[in-house]
């Protein structure tokens, strides 16, 4: 049985269908990638899983039990934690305080251990608002890990990072998967990262799931190639 299962989930905003009849399962211990062009519904799906939005129809279950009746502040106690696309930290707090907030409801690991694991020892007493973007992303990751999640949702962790930082991030994600005994669902634009770390990749386009499979197979899938190239075609036409 999948650790996380999303079944026939639909979410509309007014007349716009953001996510349409999407189903996917993430097995325990897996790193699953969720890819798709801009506006494909990836972040919406994350917000549905973490309870910030409620689906219009469909079911989302974690460890075989529905997540849909769990309010956002209890999701973390069920064992689901996430990071955000634009980094949602507490900017005037120190790095250590941010991690301590992460331990609010389930303090599984000492904050000092987490800071060490993510290479944040040296900046523990610095205010997060003054740190480089890449470091802020690691702080957010540390805060998410502080609750001792079983499922970690990462929303574009490589966004805004340089090439070297992306390579390090890939290694970091693989490392924390084993050291924290995690299952990871990863939204990412950065193909190299996804193809490098994911065991399985799910592809969304215009709110619908168009493909699923091992990374190498998805990369060769003509429907996926069409979705990515198709969205860029107008630019080529004018060039």
């Amino acid at each position: 049985m999948a650790l996380l299962s999303v079944e026939h989930v639909t979410k509309r905003f007014g007349g716009v269908v953001a996510v349409e009849d999407v189903s996917l399962g993430v097995e325990s211990g897996q790193i699953a990638g969720l890819i798709g062009p801009n506006g494909a519904g990836k972040t919406t799906l994350f917000n549905l899983i973490t309870g910030l939005y409620r689906p219009d129809s469909g079911e989302i279950a974690f460890e075989g039990e529905t997540l849909l009746r769990t309010p956002p502040h209890r999701i973390v106690r069920r064992g689901v934690a996430r990071t955000f696309q634009n980094v949602e930290l507490f900017p005037t707090m120190t790095v250590l305080e941010n991690v301590l907030v992460g331990r609010h409801s389930r303090g599984e690991r000492p904050a000092s251990e987490l800071l060490g694991e993510l290479g944040l020892d040296a900046v523990a007493q610095r205010r997060t608002g003054s740190l480089p973007f890449g470091t802020m992303k690691r702080v957010e990751l540390a805060r998410a890990l502080a609750s001792g999640p079983r499922l970690l949702l990462l929303d574009e962790p490589a966004g805004g990072l340089g090439h070297e930082e992306v390579d390090e991030l890939g290694a970091l994600i693989s490392r924390i998967r084993s050291s924290f005994d995690l299952t990871v669902l990863l939204v990412e634009h950065h193909m190299n990262l996804v193809m490098g770390v994911a065991d399985r990749v799910h592809v969304l386009d215009f709110g619908r799931k168009i493909a699923e499979g091992p990374p190498a197979e998805v990369q060769r899938n003509p429907v996926v190639i069409e979705a990515y190239l198709g969205s860029e075609r107008p630019q080529h036409a004018t060039a």
Binding site: L52, H73, V76, F90, T92, M93, E97, L100, S147
Partner: protein, 300 residues
């Protein structure tokens, strides 16, 4: 030119100013607390403090000495503030800042009216919190009550700071104020942290009211209104989003107004409120973020 200055007199007036300023500071920190948590100035803060003071006054009429009445009232105000938030603010917590501000203005009139209804309009007087004897320090006589009020105000603010800085609950409240959505996903019940903020602010207001009332000699249900104005001016001077700024701004304002009233004969006591308004206006024109605040930059 300095020969004619009575330095002992100036020192006395500065301490008296710090004493009033301490009261403003306590109320100003209450304002900052709710502003930081919800982005709203609680216009009812002064009236809630007045209500608490009247509760304490009733206790002193039923055999309580000042300090037991103080303690009971501060605790009851904490509980009352939480209950009030649940009853009045929570139903509009997702509404705009303007809506919530108007609710607090409504609360101002309701609390004021209720106090007149419960406790008749005739003036009351409170027993003194501190000895009325003077104390001589370096040859200058200071009022013990002034020093006591400064001490209690600073202690109240210090305790609050320790709470926010060193407790898990305080950390959660700061997180909720900074980023509610992110806080929810770390398991914090943001709505309750706001209620707790109202409880703490109302308790602080009770301290302010109970420090302010005895020196007045007599007071009625409107006695906190000028103090709210001074607290607001102090908070704006220091930066409405900075608790430390609000304390420093309020103390500075207390000293400034007291010296102004003493040494500038035509100001006297009548123009004190006008001077406070002039400070608010001046700060908003020259340095809108206040001395210690951060200017909110909004993308439009």
């Amino acid at each position: 030119m300095l020969v004619g200055v009575d330095w002992a007199g100036v020192a006395q007036q500065v301490v008296a100013g710090l004493s009033s300023g301490g009261t403003y500071a306590t109320l100003a920190v209450a304002l900052v607390l709710i502003y930081r948590a919800t982005g709203v100035v609680n216009f009812a803060q002064g009236e809630l403090a007045m209500f608490s003071t009247f509760v304490a006054w009733t206790l002193t009429r039923h055999g309580f000495a000042y300090w037991p009445a103080f303690l009971v009232t501060v605790l009851a105000s904490f509980a009352g503030g939480i209950a009030l938030e649940r009853a009045v603010i929570r139903p509009v917590e997702r509404a705009s800042v303007l809506t919530i501000a108007i609710v607090t203005i409504g609360l101002f009139f309701i609390v004021n009216g209720a106090a007149f209804w419960i406790w008749s309009p005739e003036v009351k007087s409170m027993p003194n919190a501190f000895s009325t004897r003077p104390i001589r320090i370096g040859g200058v006589a200071f009022a013990i009550s002034d020093l006591g009020i400064i001490g209690v105000s600073l202690l109240a603010v210090l305790l609050l700071w320790l709470f926010f800085r060193f407790t898990k609950l305080g950390l959660a409240m700061r997180a909720a104020a900074l980023n509610p959505e992110s806080s929810r996903l770390t398991g914090i019940r943001v709505s309750w942290t706001i209620a707790l903020g109202w409880g703490l602010a109302t308790a602080l207001g009770a301290v302010a009211g109970l420090m302010a009332a005895p020196p007045l000699g007599s007071f009625d249900q409107n006695f906190m209104q000028p103090i709210l104005l001074y607290a607001f001016a102090g908070a704006v001077l220091g930066g409405i989003d900075s608790a430390l700024g609000a304390v420093i701004g309020s103390l500075a304002l207390g000293v400034f107004l007291n010296l102004l009233g003493t040494y500038v004969s035509w100001v006297g006591t009548d123009l004190r409120q006008a001077a406070a308004l002039a400070v608010i206006l001046g700060v908003l024109l020259v340095r809108p973020a206040g001395l210690f605040g951060k200017l909110a930059v909004r993308r439009v």
